[in-house]
Every structure is written in structure tokens, then in C-alpha cells.
Subunit: 202 residues, 3 copies
């Protein structure tokens, strides 16, 4: 396995973690199995789907069955082993943070390939990482957590800007990807540990 | 009229019933006429629109004015004769169930034509049948009923799998369509009569 | 500057006003800066984005950076000068009404170019003007105001029909645009002043 094969694998890890987060939200609201599967899908592929549609690209999860099996598996796993999952919340946080990092990079790359402005490519990256969670919360009729409490949007923004800067300086793509993903990963982890937050409207 | 002409007609019947269900929700929330028309459209064409966009197909209702007139008509009818409609709730249930059956089949067919995996085509079918109702509930700021109480997603899934199985066994398409629609119709009717439901998250 | 150059400029004015309306909603709900930017974007470009996706057109704001800078600027301005903005609520109403008028016309023109039925082109125009505000309210988990209280959908409908009628009578396009926009502007202003409203469901 070469280093460039790692991105799809990490994408799957993130998809699995996001689907679990959707299923956990469904469980908290006492949804049934259909609601859990629906919310698992929405959380895991919502961001990527909106991005692909806006960029007029084929919707990724419709052309790679790994997503389907991972999401259905994650929801089934949550359904039968919710207690265990909640015990390993740190592992879940790890997977989730991997997902956010990789989703941001993948979203940016898709934007850059479509020749939109670099700043909008960063937005596509952030959207890929955050939109699924926003729709998950809205489908539970809750105000999206991310609108009030910094969770990871700033980390995605920072990583996205670092990635752009590195490409601009002719850094090899793979190295830029790795550095940007690490920046997102560390910023997000630190912001949760240190309880950092963005200023609120007064 | 040949048998294959029946599907579009049943599609219109379902569209009409779904638009009434949207207008009834608007009435319950004391929306005005604009809100009623908006909710009628969202409920009736929401699922098909999302499916067409994800499959990169032309959005069906933008190219066939029948949908427009049926939906506006259904909302106007609900506006002036709501009491009468509520008296004929069994007829409405009948039309609605026809709609669900036909929407599932049409969604699956569109997916299969676009060469996505058969399981994803089944998902497109279910989405066509359920997504409009989900958005209707969300626009009323209610948790979608279908996330908590089995209404018809399982019936659509069952009918979809039967359809796939029949095609796999070289059953003529029209016959497969009819059998699958009947399976959905009967499963849904039974599940309502017998109060069947999916397991919930504990 | 020729008269036809005015439409893009008014489009930007409307975008700015809509983004402020999104940021004000975010402020009312005590969102943080990320929530404000997200809501500013959703309100300002939500309607146009849905329209472009349904018509299978390139998404406008991804190909013109003016939108990005105007929206980010509007949110930042609201963040630091909310009190001042609230003092100039009449100016904001003016900009907002300009936005609605221009958004309706632009949406209709895009629909007509894509050769959909004129009535559906009017719907695309209305959608362009109203959908951003609907999603803004839903993201705040409020029932969209426009479903209950006439704000501007009827004004857009009236202006749209006038525009169609004028084109049908071979009125030069630019003149038709100006008259339709004035009709929307005046109808909306009057409906707010006179407290007009659509009939509600009983």
C-alpha cells in the first residue's frame, strides 16, 4: 500500500464514525431502525452529497458501495452495542477527527479540480466536513450544535488555508495533504481539550 | 390504454394524494395559502426532486405540467373542502398508498437506468417515497413521524427487493412492476391495520 | 454604465441585505461567528443555489467572488455594528425589497432560458426570492415566517405575471424587467404598510 492509498481508507474510517454519530443521535431521540439508518446516511454522506451536487459532479457514495456497507454496518453496530460504543468515546472522537480532517481535504481537492476560486474550495472542504452534522441536528429538530459551540469549523478553515499555502509554494500534493490533515487534527483536538471557542454575537 | 400507461396515471394519483397531505399539515399549523402551496409541492415532489438531482437527471416536475396543476388543485381543494377530505380519510389513505407504491417503483427504475448498484436503486425508490413527507414534517418543525413510527419504509424496501428478485429471474418488467407495487400496497395496508412497527433504539 | 448593467448591481445589493438578515437571525439566536457566516450564506444564496441545481445550471455564487466578499462583509458588519443596523431598519427594508425584486426577475429569466413552462419560470423566480429565508428560519428551528404571514411571495407572483404578460406583448426585455421589478417593489412595500395578508387555512 502506497501512501496515497491511505486517503480513501481514512475517508472510510470517517464515514463509519460519522454514521455512528448519526445513529447515536437517533438513539437519543428514540428513533426506530429506519430513522437510525436514515440519520446515519445523512450524517455520513450529507456534506459530500451537497458538495458533489453543487460542483455538478457524480455523487460519490452512489458509485462506491463501500459507503453503503460501512454506514449500514455502523448503524447496526450502534443498534446492538450502543453501551460499548459510549464506553469507547475517546476512540470514537479519534475516528471522528480523522473523518473531519480527511473530508476537508477531499472536499477542497474536488473544488480545486473544478477550478473554482481557492477560497471557495476551502468552503467546499469545510462544508464536506460540517454539513452532515448540521442536517443530523436539524432532522432531530435541534439547533445545530456547531452554530453555537466551536467544534471543528475553524480547524477545517485553518487546515484548508495551510493546504492552499503549501500548494502555492509548490509543496508536493501528498505532503501538503498530510500536513494539512495533521493541522486540522491537532487544532481540533486542542480546541476540545482547551475548550476554545469563537466569539458569539452579542 | 395499455397496461404500461397505468404507471404515469398512478403517479399522478399519488402526487395528488401527497399534495393533499402537505396541505393538511399546513392547515393543522394554520399556515396561509402560500404556506399551503409550498408544503403541497414539497411533499409531492420533494422525494423525486432529490432523486433526480442526485442521479443527475432532469427534474421530472419541471418538464410535465400535470404535476403543477395537480398539486395546485389538491391544495386549493384542501383549502375549500378540508372537512370533506377528513371525512374520506380512507380514500385518502388508498390514494396515498398507491402513491407510495408507484413512487418506489419509479425511483428504482430511474436508479437502475443510471446503472447504480441495485441496492442503491432500492434506496432511491424508498427515498422517492419517503423524503417529501420528511421535509414536510421538518418544515412544520416536527420530528418526522416516519423516524419513530413505522409507516411505509419497510413496505417500500420489501417491494423493492421483490422487484429486483423478479428482474433477476427474467420476469417481464411490467409484470415485475405490478407484483412489486402490490407487495408494497399490501404490506403497508397490513402494517397499518396490524400496527406493526420496527424495533426502536433503546 | 448602461441600464442593463444595473441588474447585477441590484443583485449584489440584495445579496448584501439578505446576508445581513441571516446574520441578524444568528445574532438573535446567540450563534457564534461560524453560525453567523453559515446563516448569512444560506439566506443570501440558498434560493439561487436550489434554482441553479434544479435547472442543472452552474451554481452562480461559485463562479463570481463578489457574492463571497459581500456575504462575509455583511456578516462581519453585522457582527461589529448590529446596533447601528437596527437603527437603520428602513434602509435595510429598502435593500431587502430591492433584493426580492431582482432575485425574482433573475430566477424567472434563468427558468425561461432553460425552456421550462412560463408558470414554472415564475415559480423559479419566487423560489429564488423566498427559499433562502425559509432555510434561514428552519436552521434556527423556527417555523418559516413566510408560511404564516404574507411577506413577499404574492408580490413576487404578481411581478412575475406582469413580466410574462409584457414579454408576451413583445415589450422590450429591459423595459419589462424594470416594470416587473417596480411592481414587486411597490406591491411588497404597500403590503407591509397596509398589513395585507393571504387567507389562512381554517
Amino acid at each position: 500500500m502506497s501512501v496515497s492509498d491511505i486517503i480513501p481508507v481514512l475517508d472510510y474510517v470517517g464515514t463509519f464514525a460519522f454514521a455512528i454519530s448519526g445513529a447515536l443521535a437517533a438513539a437519543r431521540k428514540q428513533f426506530d431502525l429506519f430513522g437510525g439508518i436514515f440519520l446515519g446516511f445523512v450524517t455520513a454522506i450529507g456534506g459530500g452529497t451537497l458538495r458533489d451536487i453543487m460542483l455538478n459532479q457524480p455523487v460519490a457514495w452512489l458509485h462506491d458501495m463501500w459507503y453503503f456497507y460501512l454506514i449500514v454496518g455502523a448503524v447496526a453496530f450502534t443498534f446492538i452495542a450502543r453501551k460499548t460504543i459510549e464506553k469507547y468515546s475517546k476512540t470514537l472522537f479519534l475516528f471522528d477527527t480523522i473523518g473531519i480532517s480527511v473530508f476537508t481535504i477531499i472536499g477542497m481537492q474536488k473544488g480545486l479540480i473544478m477550478n473554482i476560486s481557492p477560497m471557495l474550495a476551502v468552503m467546499m472542504g469545510i462544508l464536506t466536513a460540517v454539513f452532515g452534522g448540521i442536517v443530523r441536528d436539524l432532522m432531530c429538530v435541534d439547533i445545530p450544535l456547531i452554530f453555537r459551540k466551536e467544534i471543528y469549523a475553524t480547524a477545517c478553515l485553518l487546515g484548508g488555508l495551510v493546504y492552499l499555502l503549501l500548494l502555492y509554494c509548490n509543496c508536493p500534493d501528498l505532503l501538503a495533504v498530510i500536513i494539512a490533515a495533521i493541522v486540522i487534527f491537532i487544532t481540533r483536538t486542542l480546541s476540545v481539550m482547551k475548550n476554545w471557542s469563537l466569539p458569539r454575537f452579542k
